[in-house]
Structure formats: structure tokens, C-alpha cells
Subunit: 158 residues, 2 copies
């Protein structure tokens, strides 16, 4: 059930995209991320940050159990999601998103079962935050190389 | 019960300070923040970010109910905590901490009942992350001006 409060572009099944509040302040903004009373809140397992330096790609990863809840409070990131699940309406589709302030400060939820990766856009390091619903467990996630021929997306081509 | 895995300096009662893992990677580090199986985990209410621009101070605030769990993944921040509770062993004391990578990437827990504030150090904006144990509720927190004479700390004096 792709849901979006921002764009009418269809999302891969299970992916959601929600506009987050940025409360402006001359001293620095307050940036919402996730509340336990949000309609889409599942549970809290772990919060961590992934820095991405300019020109770098972190891809691909797929979780069997864990749901990712992502936002980019610093810098600019391209996130690509690939659905190779069988029997979903969006099977075989790619989703390409840009996250960053001020125009794309969004919460992106990626359910288990989808391949995803991200890269830094622009000239400054970016910070991707994740509030995942379970603590990190290396046994429930798979990785494949960023240039894996099974995924029809080539990083660094714009 | 001040606990610290980093410093032997005594902390204000109830404040904890924990060294967080920074997993180095040429593409950008992975930075731990909080897991639900951490010994000090109480509950998840809200995660948000507070940006602080150079030269700015965000102070003072005190919560009646909410516990703050803070880390600084970007930039450098001074956090000051003031204990004006009655009957604590640290009543009347100030705690001054610096948070930032790579040498002070720490998780700081501030229990309810303490005044706290922070300021950006250095020439780049900083980002303070908070995983609080309840969602934001304006009725459970108080503010007072950054130069309130009742708190024996003057911001911007180094």
C-alpha cells in the first residue's frame, strides 16, 4: 500500500513517503523524524546514522525482517529501491528518490523484502538517519555489490 | 546514579554518558545512537533533530516527565546541565560537556527535572539528535531565557 502525502507518483508496494515538519528558527531548525503515535509507527528497535561522503554509494542491502524508516537531515541523498519480489503489483520496478532539505525533507519507510541503496549527491557529506523497528541483526540482512547485474540500476549515471 | 564509560568526572545525579560506536568506512561512517536492547533504554516516544548554527544558543529547558537521549553526529556542541532539584547529592551543580566526533561521540541521557541547554561550537552548523522516551508535549516542559539569573552559567563565555 504505497502512500504519499507529497507526490502522486506511484510508490513500490509497501513503501511510504511522508512530509516531515521543519520548524524554522534563526538559531537552527527543529526537524521532526518519528513519533510513537504516528499512524505508520510499528516499533522501535534501533536508531543510527549513516554518513555518505560526496561521490560515494552504499548499496545494495535487503532485509528479511527489519523495516527501515529513513530521513536525511543533512545534505542530499539519492535512494534507489528495487522490487524483485514475486507477485507484487510493482514487481520488477525501480523507485528513485531524492531526499534532503528543504524541499524533500521526507520520511521514507522501506518494508522488508526490497533491495535498496543510496548515494551522496552534491559536494558536502550527507547524513541519513534510520529509526528501524528491530535492532541490527546481521543474520536478517543480505548484501550484494553496487554493480550487481541482477538489479537494473547503474549508480553514478545521472 | 551517574554512570560513565568514558570519564571519571562525576556526573549530575541521573545523568549518564556512554561511548557510542563509530564504524569507519571510506564511504562514510555508520554511527550508533540507541538500541532497544541497551541497558539504559527506557522507551521510545520521539526522535527529532535540532540544528544549531554557529554562534547560537538554545537554552534553557526543563522537562517534568520526558528523558532526553542525545548525541551529536555532525558538528560540535556544548551542553550545559544545571541541577536545581532539592535534596539530590548534586543539587546546585553545573555540568558542562562537549559532544562531537570523533573524540566525543557519546550518548548523553538527561533525566527529567534538570535544566539544560546547548550551543554550537566551531564554524559549521551542528546537529543534535534526540531519542526521547515520550512524544513531545508542550505541557510537560518549561523554558527560561538563556541569560536567566537563576542559573549560574553565562553562555558565550569561554
Amino acid at each position: 500500500m504505497g502512500q504519499s502525502s507529497m507526490s502522486s507518483e506511484p510508490l513500490i508496494e509497501g513503501v511510504t513517503l511522508t512530509v516531515l515538519r521543519q520548524i524554522g528558527d534563526r538559531r537552527g531548525a527543529v526537524l521532526h523524524m518519528l513519533r510513537s503515535d504516528a499512524p505508520e509507527f510499528i516499533g522501535f528497535g534501533e536508531c543510527y546514522f549513516s554518513e555518505v561522503v560526496p561521490g560515494s554509494v552504499k548499496a545494495w542491502k535487503r532485509h528479511r525482517v527489519q523495516t527501515q524508516t529513513l530521513a536525511v537531515p543533512v545534505g542530499r541523498v539519492r535512494v534507489v529501491i528495487y522490487d524483485d519480489r514475486e507477485k507484487t503489483p510493482t514487481s520488477g520496478q525501480l523507485q528513485i528518490l531524492e531526499l534532503g532539505r528543504p524541499d524533500a525533507y521526507l520520511r521514507l519507510r522501506i518494508p522488508p523484502g526490497l533491495w535498496y541503496g543510496f548515494e551522496c549527491l552534491g559536494n558536502a557529506p550527507a547524513l541519513l538517519a534510520n529509526c528501524a523497528d528491530t535492532p541490527h541483526d546481521p543474520n536478517e540482512c543480505e548484501k550484494c555489490p553496487e554493480d550487481d547485474p541482477g538489479i537494473p540500476y547503474r549508480w553514478g549515471t545521472r
